[in-house]
């Protein structure tokens, strides 16, 4: 990918500095917390066995792989590099420089050489013709548009070869890390337990390299109204979706856990107060609350406009505010479920016998209630996570979501909605937004299912089968 080298070279020559916006900090902080948990879990045998079960199962392993690609894109897009005299760019922007800078004037279809709409063109001095113009970036390297098919085949072949190369290198590196000899690596990597994992890794490698090779000269997913590459926009949308879902879930979770468990465990007036709170909150339409919050935030931002350095910061604050509003309104359903489950668990006999043994409330909650609430929390959180990703799209569609300058799936869909009525239809923005969301939501759901099963002793790695009778 020849475009990359000059991009990195330009970064290297400029004075380097990192700039992190509030959501970047929070998102990277959340990932750091997850990493700290991972580090401690790796040293505890039971947790290690459970997580290794997640990774070993085909569904869990592949979901992890897909999620880590999404996460990698989001992380790259959350680290901003300062540039002299210019707005800062994220690492992802720099990696995708050819896509970012390869602008057209307006819509163009995937792999098109010409624009989607006719324009007045000056064929010769004084001779104006209305025709489809050649694109400035897509297929520019071809002398004749008829060579398109050959060029695509050549690029796919190159991408396949590159993908295989990357796959083989990765395989060898992974086998080396797992302590296999080179010979063992070659003869044993196709073992049944890992077959699905290797296949998925292979498909991912091939997919990334082929798309990479194609994107170097073409708009793989076409361009949007202002001529921006849709593949670039889709990749940028990953961060928005993930940041929103992760941060909103992180706000939801503690509120729902504390209030739900408190209401279910304490009962009495505490329960009454918490019930009134969530009943009231959930009876106000969520869209209304979010619209109100978006309006007051807009007001606040325009008053403070002078204090805000950049448009990027402004858009970022709007994203953060949306996370907060979605988080603060989204805890009611989980809270309700947790309250009921806690009430059920508190009357169960193992809790009564722990109380009879003199265990203090804190120990009861930590040892008996929380571990048994976890399946519910995991499943509900992931379902909410999925609906948050989708909610972003819906809210942005009705203009109370993220800032119009923020690349997001919602903005992509919003931009595409009017063009769906056009002939020939402009489908690529919508399709790429849907594809991006679908992959994330599906992977998150499969991952959550495997995690829940692995952490249930009745199904998990510690299940050994019934041993004898009394």
């Amino acid at each position: 990918m020849p475009g990359l080298i000059p991009a990195f070279a330009s970064v290297a020559t400029e004075p380097m500095g990192l700039q992190l916006l509030p959501t970047d900090l929070l998102f990277l902080g959340a990932l750091a917390l997850a990493a700290v948990y991972g580090h401690s879990a790796a040293r505890e045998p039971l947790a290690r066995a459970r997580w290794s079960r997640v990774l070993h199962s085909p569904g869990g392993g592949i979901a992890c792989l897909v999620l880590s690609v999404y996460l990698a894109v989001a992380v790259l897009d959350s680290v901003r590099v300062e540039r002299a005299e210019q707005a800062p760019l994220t690492v992802l922007d720099l990696v995708l420089t050819p896509l970012r800078t390869g602008m057209e004037t307006t819509y163009s279809a995937p792999f098109a050489t010409h624009a989607h709409a006719r324009e007045n063109l000056e064929h010769a001095p004084g001779l104006w013709v209305r025709d489809y113009p050649r694109l400035k970036f897509g297929g520019r390297h071809l002398a004749l548009p008829e060579e398109t098919a050959r060029d695509l085949v050549r690029r796919i072949a190159l991408g396949t070869a590159l993908g295989f190369g990357v796959f083989v290198v990765l395989t060898l590196v992974i086998n080396q890390l797992r302590g296999r000899s080179l010979r063992g690596a070659i003869t044993q990597w196709w073992e049944p337990a890992w077959r699905w994992h290797w296949s998925a890794l292979g498909v991912l490698c091939l997919g990334i390299t082929i798309v990479g090779c194609l994107a170097d000269g073409w708009h793989v997913l076409g361009t949007d109204k202002v001529g921006q590459d849709v593949l670039y926009l889709s990749l940028k949308s990953v961060r928005t979706g993930l940041v929103l879902a992760v941060l909103a879930s992180l706000i939801t979770l503690p509120i729902a856990l504390v209030l739900g468990v408190l209401a279910g465990y304490r009962g009495g007036w505490v329960d009454d107060v918490i019930q009134y709170l969530y009943t009231t909150l959930s009876s106000i339409p969520g869209v209304l609350l979010i619209a109100a919050a978006a309006l007051s935030l807009d007001l606040f931002l325009s008053r403070e406009a002078g204090a805000l350095h950049s448009l990027a910061l402004r858009a970022d604050l709007r994203l953060l505010a949306l996370c907060a509003v979605l988080g603060l309104t989204g805890w009611t359903s989980l809270c309700r479920l947790l309250r009921a489950e806690t009430m059920k668990l508190s009357t169960i006999e193992f809790v009564a016998s722990a109380r009879a043994l003199g265990s203090p409330s804190a120990a009861l909650l930590r040892r008996h209630l929380l571990p048994n609430l976890m399946p519910l929390v995991i499943i509900t959180t992931v379902l909410d996570f999925s609906s948050l990703v989708l909610a972003e799209a819906v809210l942005t569609y009705i203009d109370i979501g993220v800032d119009p300058s923020t690349e997001s799936w919602g903005n992509l869909i919003n931009g595409a909605r009017l063009e769906l009525a056009r002939e020939p239809v402009i489908w690529w923005s919508l399709a790429s937004a849907l594809g991006g969301m679908f992959g994330l939501v599906l992977a998150a759901n499969v991952f959550a299912d495997t995690v829940r099963d692995a952490f249930d002793p009745r199904l998990g790695p510690d299940a050994k089968g019934v041993q004898g009778r009394a």
Binding site: R355, G358, R458, D462, A463, V466, Q467, G468, R469, A470
Partner: protein, 533 residues
């Protein structure tokens, strides 16, 4: 009439298949009751389900045939089978609670079977339903017709179930443990009803039970099953007078009997009682339908007085709803009391500040009924048993705790190496042993046992009772033993309290209460217990 021959049922679990019923042949005659007796896992319920083709999905019929008047039921289409179920073969399940639809009126649930199999509608249907309700002994059928299942007691629900099973006048009735979930007095009524109906209609009945005394009460002929096979099959009198197979004899030996010979010699009652309860009242507040409506209360325990001395077993018996479990929970301070005094080791249990109460709990422990609900499924046996030690701050060093847990497991008859396993890997009896080990861990003086054996098979029950008695002799433990099973009481208790509607109606030495009762209620209770010859 109903001929089961060479029936083999196979359970499919992850590639492996096991025979859960092995080569069973059985012939049921009209006008006769055949009783299938066996412990859990013997395949008796599966056999019954196979007859009506309602086996769970993981289990299938490998070979064999079930013939009803020559027609092989196993080869009928699902549609033809539907006209056999209900119409030719009626079915009564163990849990009337689960078998009735909670949002459908009783009359309609009975009527459904009549409409389906007899095509009755309108006034005729209603008249027939009222007749059936009267026939199964439901008072005021006119009024109860429109009631919902939750408005009926357990015994009444089982009567409704029987009415549904009888609605289409089947030739055969299959009753799968129909009285296991009921009290002894209700059980006696339901057994009477089933027997009278069977005789009056000349039906054939397949009656399934784990209780030999109930089997003796009902059977014309008896089939003893063990691990999927028939071990003995004979007429009732022949089998009860001279059981041949070793397993049948073992079942006879472990079944609790209400005979004076089993009684323990009353322990000498000396000195201060360990636990003394004076005028204890426990009320449950019942919240009104709306939050502003006045709260009323329901008296669960009224003016209870009792004493437990060191080293003795006091049994609390009574039917469900008599307040015996509430009494136990209140003594453990798991349930607040309205008034009364509980002195334990000379201290007033209700007046103790939290910290002293926590320390006092060490001496007063509990073993619950349900071996599946009484342990956290996410904790290992080690964590479960050491919970009291951790809570009380005893043996803070992990090595010492592990050694202590190992000793306890050995004491209750389990392998110490099993301490890293999870509860689901154990059978009901083994779990109950773990529960006992958990209670013993903090070296208590008194253990409240709340129906600790009622979920277990008779042979496992006998083992647990033997273990409890051995521990009592070894450590001088006292038990407050809550149970509805009077046969168990006769084997274990030194003294007995009889509870009825929240009051202790009779108390005294086991010999007097069980064999020379003073109160009518106690006499009624004892008369209802089915007995072995």
């Amino acid at each position: 009439m109903l001929e089961i021959s060479n029936l083999v049922l196979v359970a499919q679990t992850q590639g492996a298949s096991t025979r859960v019923v092995d080569d069973l042949s059985l012939s049921l005659k009209r006008g006769q009751t055949t009783v299938l007796v066996g412990e859990s896992g013997s395949g008796k319920s599966l056999t019954a389900l196979a007859v009506v083709r309602l086996l769970p999905p993981a289990i299938r019929v490998a070979t064999g045939s079930v013939r009803l008047e020559g027609r092989d039921l196993l080869h009928l289409s699902e549609r033809e089978m539907n006209s056999v179920r209900g119409a030719r073969i009626g079915f009564v399940f163990q849990e009337p609670q689960a078998a009735l639809n909670p949002v459908m009126r009783i009359g309609h649930q009975i009527g459904e079977a009549l409409t389906r199999h007899r095509g009755l509608r309108g006034r005729l249907l209603r008249e027939r339903v009222l007749e059936l309700l009267a026939a199964v002994g439901i008072p005021e059928p006119q009024r109860r017709f429109k009631d919902y299942p939750h408005q009926f007691s357990g015994g009444m629900k089982q009567r409704v179930m029987i009415a549904i099973a009888l609605a289409a006048e089947p030739d055969f009735l299959i009753a799968d443990e129909p009285t296991t979930a009921l009290d002894v007095s209700t059980q006696a009524q339901i057994l009477d009803l089933l027997q009278a109906t069977q005789r009056a209609r000349g039906m054939g009945m397949l009656f399934i039970t784990h209780d030999l005394a109930v089997a003796h009460r009902m059977a014309d002929s008896l089939v003893v099953m063990k691990e999927g096979s028939v071990v003995e099959h004979d007429s009732r009198d022949a089998l009860f007078s001279a059981p041949v197979h070793a397993y049948t004899r073992h079942l006879f030996a472990v079944s609790p009997r209400l005979t004076p010979s089993a009684l323990l010699t009353p322990s000498p009652v000396t000195g201060e009682p360990l636990l003394a309860v004076r005028d204890l009242n426990v009320h449950f507040p019942q919240r009104g339908a709306r939050w502003w409506s006045r709260t009323r209360s329901f008296a669960a325990v009224t003016d209870a007085n009792l004493e437990v001395h060191a080293g003795e077993t006091v049994a609390v018996v009574g039917e469900s709803g008599s307040g015996k479990t509430t009494l136990g929970r209140t003594l453990l301070r798991l349930q607040p009391a309205q008034s009364g005094r509980v002195a334990f080791l000379g201290r007033d249990l209700f007046a103790l500040p939290p910290e002293s109460l926590r320390r006092a709990r060490r001496e007063l422990q509990v073993v619950f009924q349900d071996p599946f609900a009484s342990m956290n499924p996410r904790m290992t046996v080690q964590q479960i048993v050491e919970e009291g030690l951790v809570a009380q701050g005893l043996l803070r060093e992990p090595g010492a705790r592990a050694a202590h847990v190992g000793n306890l497991l050995e004491k209750v008859g389990l392998d110490p190496a099993w301490s890293s396993r999870f509860p689901h890997e154990f059978s009901g009896g083994q779990r109950q042993r773990i529960s006992i080990a958990r209670a013993l861990a903090v070296a208590p003086r008194l253990i409240v046992c709340d129906e600790p054996t009622s979920a277990l098979d008779v042979s496992v029950q006998a083992q647990i009772l033997t273990l409890l008695k051995a521990l009592q002799q070894e450590q001088g433990l006292a038990y407050l033993f809550i149970t509805h099973n009077l046969g168990v009481v006769a084997q274990l208790a030194h003294r007995v309290l009889v509870m009825h509607q929240g009051r202790i109606v009779e108390s005294g030495a086991a010999r007097e209460v069980l064999f020379a009762p003073q109160q009518d209620y106690t006499r009624m209770l004892l008369a209802a217990v089915p007995s072995l010859p």
